[in-house]
Structures are given as structure tokens and as C-alpha cells.
Symmetry: C3
Subunit: 203 residues, 3 copies
Amino acid sequence: MDVLLKTIEALGIIAFAVTGIFEARKKKMDIVGVYVVAMITALGGGSLRDIILNRHPFFWVEYYQYPILLLFLSIFSVGVMKKSLQKPRLVLLVLTLDAVGLGLFSASGASLAYQSGCHAFIASIIGVVTGVFGGVMRDISCNEIPHVFQRTELYATCSFVGAWVYLIVFTGSMNEVFAVLSCVFVTFILRMLAIRYKITLPI
Amino acid sequence: MDVLLKTIEALGIIAFAVTGIFEARKKKMDIVGVYVVAMITALGGGSLRDIILNRHPFFWVEYYQYPILLLFLSIFSVGVMKKSLQKPRLVLLVLTLDAVGLGLFSASGASLAYQSGCHAFIASIIGVVTGVFGGVMRDISCNEIPHVFQRTELYATCSFVGAWVYLIVFTGSMNEVFAVLSCVFVTFILRMLAIRYKITLPI
Amino acid sequence: MDVLLKTIEALGIIAFAVTGIFEARKKKMDIVGVYVVAMITALGGGSLRDIILNRHPFFWVEYYQYPILLLFLSIFSVGVMKKSLQKPRLVLLVLTLDAVGLGLFSASGASLAYQSGCHAFIASIIGVVTGVFGGVMRDISCNEIPHVFQRTELYATCSFVGAWVYLIVFTGSMNEVFAVLSCVFVTFILRMLAIRYKITLPI
């Protein structure tokens, strides 16, 4: 099952990276800019989680394959995918993967925080931070008001709900994998519904 | 007396959070955006202090009541205070509390840095960082040039002077509470005078 | 030889600080804003390196002379250098020093990362981060899209190549000083050529 979790994590990192590459290309950045924004978006949330929880080395320092993967992805996307990135089906694929990544990172943040002794509420906050911080840094790097701060479809909210699902399922079942999958599942469904029906917060 | 310091700290956090909520509402953010900006503004400076001084867990991870308090404050402010936030008397109250918070966080940064063995000048710098960084992050999040960088009424300067007052009084008296109160007092008076008489730096 | 490295480091910090002061003055900041931007630009990259590698105290907390030096530099530049900063020869001097600083910080990041056990690719990334992050923070503070993300003359690329030169020379010769000087030399020449011939990345 650990292989399953690692696979989901890698998918989430790739999805986050692709959203970064999208934005960077829109701003006409060159390959270096694209790579940097991809790195920030995909690895930013997990890095902040590691800073807050004093985890060393950082996950991408330990798994050096991730930065290398993102380098190839950036080169590939700039060289080959140029036009296909606009295709609606690909946009949908990216949004879908992004929702999976959001769920996975929310679970990972909440899980590591809770198991290192944090209060449940703090664990849920760290889950949200891990899930959304990469996107915030992406938007700040591209000089825009971060999307999650604006009246967009639910995003941080999905992450928050997902983190609580993780915490409740984990406390109830003591089954890490089951709790993570529940979190990813709920976050994913909620996010997809929010996109499909353009659900926004009333206040 | 420790109760007194904790009360001032809580007041400072609330005041900082309210300035964040103000800005976030101006930008038409929803409740999640408001909460995030409130958190960044109120907890950003202390978090950076904890990173620089390698203090773990972070103060808001240890005192989980702060993030919960900020959540209620955000919901309350969005739901109820909508219009009253514009009232000049409330603006004055916020500026006043903000000045208290600035003094308290400057003292806290300078105090923790100095007592962990930093050089006095570094301690004063960390005091300023702790006092002003939250506001800087608030402004960057809202896509504006941070106010403290501009020709505004003295702000970082008050924090800097306050931090030195702490250091001098503490070295002289070895009385932590007295030194903190002196710092808060001087920072507060200086800031109020700067606002009242629109004092800016000549260069 | 250690004196030589310390001298280069100090020169690099000064050069980075001067670029920060330039930008801050363009935005009409007062002395406090100028000092803050100078600090962020000159010390930002090294601080992030220290966070990633869990090095404490931070280099500028240990060598408190740097922040004091930057304070005098800021006051001096605001008071005296006002007009001379525009002179083309000074701009060239700053670009030259900046290239030296870029090389030095890239080498320092790659060196510390590699010797603390990071994979070579991660070490090169940390070298780039150390070299360019200060400039990124400078641009974000001044509310601009960071220069390194845009189609500018090679910058992060020089840092990346320089970091690899360090890694290869160090692995080959096991001579720290020689490896650092090689990195600074290559980064410097490459950056100067890129400016002179306006070399940009093709993609």
C-alpha cells in the first residue's frame, strides 16, 4: 500500500507542477523561470510543512528524484506540449490531478502534524497549508493576488474538510492508509463538485 | 505578571489580525481568504522569529488557541462587523491596538534573540522582524508594495527604537517584565505621535 | 586563503545590497525601506540555504557585522551617493560585483549542501537557490515579477553551471578553495558574456 501512497504523491507533485508550468508559460517565462515556478508550486507546500514541523531533511532533499522529475517535465512541456496544453481535455485532466494532489498533500500535512503531537485543529491547519501554499507561492511569483484568497470555487475549504476527514477516520480506525484515501476521496469529490457547479462560499 | 504579558500578546495578535481582515475585506475576499490573511498578519512575524531562532514548536503550534481565536474573529468580523469596521473610532481603536502589538512583538523578538545569545544589534533586528513581518506578508498577499517600505508614518522605526529600549532596560535592570513594558510603552507613544503629527523620516 | 573567501563573500553581500538599494530608491522608499530591501537582497539567499540545510545560527546571526555593514551602506548610499548611482560606470561596477556575488553564493550553497550529504543534483539546486533567492525577494518586495523568471540575460543559468563546476572540481580535486574559485570564475565569465552579448535562453 505504501507504493500506492507514493504513486499518488508523485501524481500530485506532477499535477501541481503542471499548473505552475501553465502559469509560467502564460507570463512568457523562459525554461529557467518555468522550472522555478514548477518547483515552487509542487514542492512549496511540503517544504513549509517540513519547516513548521522541523522535519529534516526536507522531503525533496531526501527524494532527489522529485526535482529531477520536475526538470524533465519542464523541458518536455516547453518543448513538446506547447499547443496541446490549451486543449480543454488536458485542462480537465490537470484540474483532476490537481484535486488529487490537494487531497494527498492535505492528508500528508495533517497526518505528520497530528502524529508529531500537534492539537487536531493545528493539524488541520497544517494540512491546509501543505495543500495550498504551493499555489499561493506560484501566484505571488507571477505577481497576482493568490487565487485561493479570492472568491473562487472552493479550494482551501476542500483541503480543510479533507484534513478533518483524515483526522476523524484516523482516530476512529487507526488505519493510516484508509484515512489518507478517505481524505483524498472527499477532497477530490468536493473540489470536482465545486468546479462543476461553480460553488463559492456565501460569505 | 505573566498573565499581564499573555494578555498583551493576545491583544496584539487580535489587533494585527483585525488589520489583516480589513485589507482582505477591501479586496473582496471570502471568509477563507480573510482567515488566511488574518493568520499571516497575526502569526507571520512570530513564525519568522521562531524560524530564525530555531524555536520549535512554533508559538501558534504550541498555543493552538490562537488560530482558533482568529477563526472565530474572522467569522465574527465578516458576519457582524461589516459596517462598523468603517467607523473612525474603530479605526483608531485598531491603530491603537496595532501599536501595542507592535511593541509587544518587538520586545518578544528582541528578548528571545538576546537571551539565546545573539549580539545586541542582531537582537534588535529580530525584534523589528517579529514586529513588522506580519504586515509585510499581509501587503504582499494582497499584491501591494508593503506599507513599511514606503514613506509612511514611522513604523519599523518605532519597533527598532522599542527593541533598543528593551535591550537597554533589560541589561540595566535584569527585569524582564519591566523591560517588556518599557518597550511597549515607548513603541506605542512614538507610533501614536507619528500618526498624530504625520511624522516621516527625512531621508 | 580563508581570508580570500571571506573577502569575496563580503564583496558579494555588498554588491547584492547595492542592487537592492538601487531598486528601493527607484520606488522612493525611505531609509528604513532601503535598509530592509538591502538586507533581504543580500541575506535572503543565504538564509534560505540555512533553513533548507537546518544550519543554526543563520550566517548573519553569527556574523553580526554583516547587518551592521548593510546599515552603514544604506545610510551612506541614501545620503551621499544619490546622483552618482546613475552613472553608467557605477552600474557596470555593480553588475560586476553582483556576478562575483552570484558565483560565490552559488558555490557556498552547493558546497554546504554537498558536504552535508545531499545528492549532487540537490546540491546544485541549493546552489542556485542561494545565489538567486535574494534577488527574487527584492523584486517581490518591490511588487515586480522577479527578473530571473523573465526572458532576461542568463542569470539562474550561470548560477546552475557554476554550481556544477564547483561540484565537479571539488569531487575531482578535493580542494575546497580551488573549487570555489573555479565556480566564481565560470559564473562570472558566463554572466558577463551574457550581459555583453545579450544572450538569452532559446526556449
